[in-house]
């Protein structure tokens, strides 16, 4: 029974894919070739490509013009779908993808676990309060994602234009007018109307060095040893996100059979005696799998504070149990809730690629379904200096102490020292 349960949990763990639009750099030069990567999986690793027929809309919006992306602009590499385009005139650009709905069936247990792991806590609470925890679900889901990037230096207002997706984040501030330490206000729209009281997660991925890009990482979002049978990104494959980790973090593998996650705070472990596979999106490319024997323990060392650990040695260590009381989520970072106007405010605490995500999941009367979800993410980059495309340092900003304090302090100090020594003489 336990094995079945674990298999089930593993299935759920590895089956929900969040979609993101990512760029190597969110600062582009005008009229240069660029690529946007469409990830479907975690922020770190795409698990499968998205076929063009699934896309209801793929648009680029800049300088007031919305440009439909042609099918010929798409390519695929590994499990990442790539949008190749020519960056247009200088301005703040938006790219968006909206996908057609699909459905997935889950039994009650799997559904509850999925709600918990994806941070869809309101529905979980609702099920608990309404004695629906035993109800299975047939969920209709669709994903609608956006990214905002800056071409050249000129800021334009395209970032505030809604693309008209079923659900989408529309910033109230241009992310490229903001810097680390600022807050961004984003309005969440559902069918064009502000969506109040919705849980939103904001997190970021810090660059190791703000001034370089790891190409290997950028190409497939993943830099693991190819020989290994499975591949773990630092943020794990189950759709959870952790705050504050580096692109190239301490994640290390000693050999094929043993690697470790240990982040010290929360803990859960997976018994990898089962083969995990991805089937949420029914893509032929969903081939990510875990094959491990009992003896092949693996652990990950992560820098993140909120994470989990995979031990994979025995079943007993697996702490994903439907009966566990402490909620275990794969969403971390800032947990926000939209206000009455559908607005969330995220504090941009560090340099990096920031992403907001939410899954709006409600019960539906639609025939053949019990629930309907709309997933959305928004990505953009935040740097620590004024002028969004610069990587600069000003001690005044970093230290938060105005220059004149130093000026006056230094003058006073030299003056006092001078008088002191002059008197002593």
């Amino acid at each position: 029974m336990k094995k079945i349960l674990f298999a089930l949990i593993a299935f759920v763990l590895f089956s929900s894919h969040v979609m993101y639009l990512k760029l190597d750099s969110y600062f582009l030069e005008p009229d240069t070739k660029a690529t946007i990567q469409l990830f479907n999986g975690t922020f770190d690793k795409s698990e499968n490509v998205i076929t063009r027929d699934r896309m209801l809309d793929a648009s680029l919006l800049g300088n007031g013009q919305r440009i439909k992306v042609a099918d010929s602009q798409w390519t695929e590499k590994d499990s990442v779908t790539l949008l190749n385009f020519q960056a247009g005139a200088a301005g703040t650009w938006v790219a968006g993808i909206s996908t057609a709905p699909r459905s997935i069936e889950m039994d009650a247990e799997a559904f509850n676990t999925y709600l918990e792991h994806e941070g869809i806590l309101d529905m979980l609470t609702f099920r608990k309060e309404n004695d629906e925890l035993e109800d299975a679900a047939v969920e209709k889901y669709s994903k609608h994602v956006k990214t905002i990037f800056q071409v050249g230096n000129k800021r334009t207002n395209d970032w505030e234009t809604a693309l008209g997706y079923p659900i989408e984040f529309v910033p109230l501030d241009n992310p490229y007018d903001l810097n680390t330490g600022d807050s961004i206000r984003v309005k969440l729209l559902f069918n064009g109307e502000p969506l109040a009281n919705q849980l939103v997660y904001a997190d970021y991925k810090a660059p190791e060095d703000a001034h370089t890009h790891d190409d290997a990482e950028a190409e497939d979002g993943h830099s693991h040893d190819e020989e290994t049978e499975h591949s773990h990104e630092p943020k794990s494959e189950s759709g959870h996100i952790n705050q504050g980790e580096k692109v190239k973090n301490e994640h290390s593998h000693t050999d094929e059979a043993s690697h470790s996650h240990d982040d010290g705070t929360t803990e859960h472990s997976h018994d990898d005696n089962v083969e995990h596979s991805h089937s949420h999106d029914n893509e032929p490319e969903s081939t990510h799998s875990h094959k491990e024997t009992d003896e092949e323990g693996h652990t990950h060392d992560d820098t993140n504070e909120e994470g989990h650990s995979h031990v994979g040695t025995t079943e007993k260590e697996h702490s994903h149990d439907s009966g566990e009381t402490a909620p275990h989520q794969h969403t971390s970072g800032q947990q926000l809730r939209s206000n009455a106007d559908g607005i969330v405010t995220a504090k941009l605490t560090a340099d990096g690629i920031w992403y907001l995500q939410t899954i709006h999941l409600v019960k539906t009367e639609e025939e053949g379904f019990t629930h309907e979800s709309n997933w959305t993410t928004l990505t953009f980059e935040v740097v620590h200096a004024h002028g969004a495309d610069t990587h600069t340092h000003e001690n005044e900003e970093e230290g938060g102490i105005p220059s004149y304090v130093y000026w006056i302090g230094s003058l006073l100090l030299v003056g006092l020292l001078f008088f002191w020594f002059n008197r002593k003489k």
């Binding site: 600062f27 060095d209 001034h211 340092h393 001690n395 220059s403 003058l411 030299v414 001078f418």
Partner: protein, 227 residues
């Protein structure tokens, strides 16, 4: 204290020390200048960085305090220039980077070093003769150049005319250095004839020690707690 001494004190304080406050002066606008201008923009930004890059100037001021003749000043500044040019051009060209806080922390120590040496710290407290300044200035020049390189690498320089841009930035640094040195040398040499020079000398070098320690702590704090 005479009125002229007071005047010199005030003006020199403005010239010498408050550069500390402008920090590294690489403002957000600089990237735009670099993006939109040609090689001249690199000269400008290099010069600007040097003129407002307090730690380099504090160190140079410390060196000048130590020297007696104009000939010596030229000699030492030349050695410092060679030193920082080697690492500025070399490290930037090769893409060698280090954490800027750590580099700046070492540069802060060079300021501390110079103040300490000028105050006779080696003889007084360590009971040793202070190391020959010329090679020390060369070594510190290398370190300062690495700091300048780290700063230059924080810009998106682009790949076209890469070496020319680095050299332009370096030329700008030298021009900025000359510009900044003129008032520093002027004030120090002028004051040397005054009775109050000894007090000024001590005050300024004590300030270098304090500033060096302060900057070091500031950079280390930035290293551990900065983003």
């Amino acid at each position: 204290m005479t009125n002229s001494a007071k005047k010199i004190l005030i003006s020199s304080s403005f010239i010498l020390f408050p550069f500390a406050l402008l920090a590294h002066g690489v403002s957000s606008g600089d990237q735009e200048i670099l993006n939109n201008g040609g090689l001249l923009s690199y000269i400008y930004v290099g010069a600007k960085h040097m003129v407002t890059g307090y730690d380099h100037l504090l160190f140079l001021a410390g060196v000048i305090f130590y020297l007696k003749s104009f000939k010596d000043i030229v000699r030492f500044i030349t050695v410092f220039t060679i030193g920082h040019s080697i690492t500025l051009i070399g490290a930037t060209y090769l893409g060698i980077q280090a954490n800027e806080h750590l580099v700046d922390a070492v540069i802060a120590l060079s300021v501390l070093y110079k103040g300490f040496e000028n105050l006779g710290g080696f003889e007084k407290y360590l009971k040793v003769k202070s190391p020959n300044l010329l090679p020390m200035v060369f070594i510190f020049g290398l370190i300062h150049g690495f700091g300048l390189s780290t700063r230059l690498q924080s810009f998106e320089v682009g790949s076209s005319q890469f070496l020319a841009k680095i050299v332009s930035f370096n030329i700008g640094v030298e021009l900025g250095q000359i510009l900044a040195l003129i008032p520093i040398v002027f004030v120090i040499t002028k004051w040397q004839t005054k009775n109050s020079y000894n007090a000024f000398y001590k005050a300024a070098n004590f300030y270098l020690v304090i500033a060096g320690i302060g900057l070091f702590i500031y950079q280390m704090y930035g290293y551990f707690y900065g983003h």
